[in-house]
Symmetry: C2
Subunit: 502 residues, 2 copies
């Protein structure tokens, strides 16, 4: 029996995917199930499996198979050709980093992470600074290994948002920063502010949990192919399109954070449950970028989950979950409260109007750090100046300032922009939904999410990795990625909510 090079390649890549799934399960279990004394061994298990995965993914055998398949008639259909091309891309990119570099990077990451934890506890950037310096050096080296045109930051972006450049982001974010800052200024000074007093209280955890399950089910999340658990930080993971799991957190002092967290992760999960069955165990069953992945979570969490029609559907469920406590609260009151805008120090707690501003300031600092225009030592000062500029706030300390995010301690630069891009893509996609499914809002108000999901399945989920993010947006909407749709969405929504003059 003859096995073709293409089938052998799929087998070898399938093994890499299986190992990656095992790594993902070890991580999921670590956050959701693992008892505390299992931590040390789990760290070793993750290191071993990750190293094995890298070894398999960069094996000479895969290289030889890819060579054999180049321009071969075996790439018999469009999907097979795409798969081979993408495998080639992954392989070449992974091989560009020498193994000693990968090991050194991992070791420095680990030290930097520990230093960051300490620095944040002490609220003292100086403790983290030397590690940031080392990581910056390594990141510049990484960019050199990977290769780039224009800014070295482009090489780093590619890991998270392939097809996007520093230059494009500068243009997009420049417009955003100006318009969002102006909008926030007007909102903060608006006389009409939402009533929030009724949010005080204790909201039973069981009831909150049951509500998230109901809403996820209505959205179309398949519990036969997933589950929801608790964890400190909400996340989504999958081991296959038949096993896509989400986590959320519950706090009885917070009426909405559990639900909005679930809906956000539900958006990610619907994406991963929506890959094609024929793509199972291939690299095509994946998102092409973090930004496009985030577009799905943000679309569900913000555009849908913070809309008035959604609360026409969900308010009765919320009232039933907390009997007697919310009887006189209207969908409009919820809509106002859940869209309360207030500049704050912490990105992860930011509202829709200020969120991108947090991202843009990080992007600007990262570019300056990587391009050599900013020294690590000057980060706190530069950070605080930008927070003042964009959010009008005086940062009281490093813990609430430049030490708040985990990303830099992992040596992840180029990652933050994907959060903002998610917002932009979501708005662009949803403008098209409104054209293609004109009654989508009345459907949402009736708790009917199937047509929306079907649209997303067709234009985004089923595509998998066949197209890069800009292509997905272009093919679905006829437009290049830009900030126009998002700004229209934001300005329309908040002008109405806060009674601002047009």
């Amino acid at each position: 029996m003859h096995t073709s090079p293409y089938d052998t390649l799929c087998d070898r890549l399938g093994e890499v995917i299986d190992l990656r799934a095992a790594v993902a399960l070890l991580q999921w279990d670590q956050e959701v199930c693992m008892p505390p004394k299992g931590a040390a061994a789990r760290g070793r298990q993750l290191a071993t499996l990750s190293a094995l995965e890298h070894r398999l993914a960069t094996s000479g055998e895969i290289g030889a198979l890819l060579m054999a398949l180049e321009g071969s008639p075996e790439a018999r259909d469009v999907d097979a050709a795409k798969l081979v091309a993408e495998a080639h891309y992954d392989y070449a990119r992974a091989r560009r980093l020498p193994e000693v570099f990968v090991e050194r990077f991992a070791a420095e990451q680990s030290k930097a992470y520990q230093a960051w934890v300490k620095a944040r506890e002490e609220s003292n950037f100086k403790t983290f600074q030397p590690h940031l310096e080392t990581l910056l050096e390594l990141l510049r080296q990484k960019a050199d290994y990977l290769g780039y045109e224009g800014s070295p930051y482009n090489a780093l972006i590619e890991d998270y948002e392939r097809g996007m450049t520093t230059e494009q982001l500068r243009v997009i974010f420049g417009e955003l920063a100006q318009r969002q800052s102006a909008l926030v200024d007007r909102i903060v000074q608006a006389p009409q502010q939402p009533q929030l007093g009724w949010l005080q209280g204790e909201w039973g955890e069981e009831a909150q949990w049951a509500l998230t399950l109901q809403v996820l089910r209505d959205m179309g999340y398949d519990f036969e192919a997933g589950r929801q658990d608790r964890s400190v930080h909400p996340f989504t993971t999958n081991f296959d399109l038949g096993d896509v799991r989400i986590t959320t957190r519950v706090n009885e002092r917070e009426l909405f954070s559990c639900l909005t967290g679930s809906v956000h992760e539900g958006g990610h999960a619907l994406y991963e449950q929506g890959f094609l069955e024929k793509d199972q165990r291939t690299l095509l069953a994946a998102a092409p970028s973090l930004g496009i992945h985030e577009s799905q979570s943000r679309l569900w969490e913000n555009i849908i989950g913070r809309s008035l029609p959604f609360w026409n559907y969900a308010a009765p469920l919320l009232r039933a979950a907390h009997p007697g406590k919310l009887d006189h609260i209207t969908p409009e009151q919820i809509h106002q409260a859940i869209n309360h805008v207030q500049p704050s120090f912490v990105r992860v707690e930011a509202d829709e109007c200020t969120y991108n501003l947090h991202i843009i300031l990080r992007f600007e600092l990262e570019v300056a750090l990587i391009e050599g225009d900013l020294e690590a030592a000057d980060v706190p000062e530069a950070w605080n100046a930008k927070v003042k500029q964009y959010l009008g706030l005086d940062v009281p300390n490093d813990a609430l300032g430049c030490l708040q995010d985990i990303h830099w301690s992992h040596g992840s630069m180029g990652y933050f922009p994907t959060y903002a891009l998610g917002n932009l893509y979501a708005s662009q996609l949803f403008e098209q939904v409104l054209k293609d499914v004109p009654d989508v809002w009345s459907q949402v108000a009736a708790g009917e999410f199937k047509p929306l999901l079907a649209w997303l399945r067709q234009h985004v989920h089923a595509v998998g990795r066949r197209k890069m993010a800009p292509e997905i947006v272009r093919d679905a909407t006829g437009q290049e990625p830009d900030s126009a749709a998002f700004l229209r969405y934001l300005e329309d929504k908040y002008t109405a909510l806060y009674g601002l003059a047009k």
Copy 2:
């Protein structure tokens, strides 16, 4: 920096252990958490990781390191020397099976399992018979590859109970069969039978669950290094001595099965939590045989958990768990009910007096099949004859007869005897406990299990794989493994319980 061959060997073996832990987690998750649609991908992930584990464990590099270490002064202490010797044993044994054979065996296992599921549903042995024939052929081949003295069955036993032989088992089981059958006959005819009517009822699942947690905690199970979940079939697994998990099942119609299941698995788990920290991530942190592992679960489940002193401790907890329902039930009544003897068809539901008889008949059939004295086609007839001989029952159909166990469908022969050996070892060890900790029963009655656990830690758990099962028994008790202690235990206990003449 020079890394010694010994350290490199430990690194390589550590990777194998990490992969095995990942496989164990994939399996645990499959039974406890996985949503149904994740099953197909999970099967592939398990196959890939198992194959990788085999590849790493039999790598030329490990072979070369072992060669380099042979008789080397580097085996600097007793533990290191033992580790190298055991690694050598594992390596040589794994290498004796050609990869094509391992693959063929796995493929036939999978087919046989599916056929067995169908055969059992239909209660029709004929559906399974051709697969059993193939597996028997492969098992004989496996024995030839592995090598043996005496019976080829010895080569198969070695996977589960190294150091035990068919010849020894024939002697031990011969005595057991005769004496246990005679005891069961007397019990069945005894005029004094336990009252069981009060066991009828509904026993709240939450209350049952909470009780198991309490008892496990009292036994010494460390919930910081483990957890209990529900699964269809109870089991224990570990990914490290800091992460030893058990599962049990709850049925509101059964007052005791959840608790006895938990105590049984708790016995296994205490063993695995009791390996030495210095043995972490080495092959020494493991049981030398399934029989010795089973001795721990049976000691806790039966010798302790079905004793009167245990129920002096546990009866108040049981009453509190089911308020108002058991107020007049005494520890003596529980003791009688929980030790009710009744010959039945199904091994996993068998009581202490009949259990080994189920094992012995399987052992005799397996030896005859492997040695060629019995044809697969004649299994049902032979099975039914032995059930009549040992248990006095007429088997109504294959589902309740020779198709009831999963083991043969996995190609596992030589496994069953370890269950009976667990009973024997447990009794031998406990006779010694009674000498070394003379007041152990009054401690148990007071819910004080620490001295018992300390004894087991010292003589069994901490040993890990430094000694084989017979050595552990010999060093702890001064005696060879035999059936005498078990028969004394059984005859004393049941003579008293059923008021039999001495």
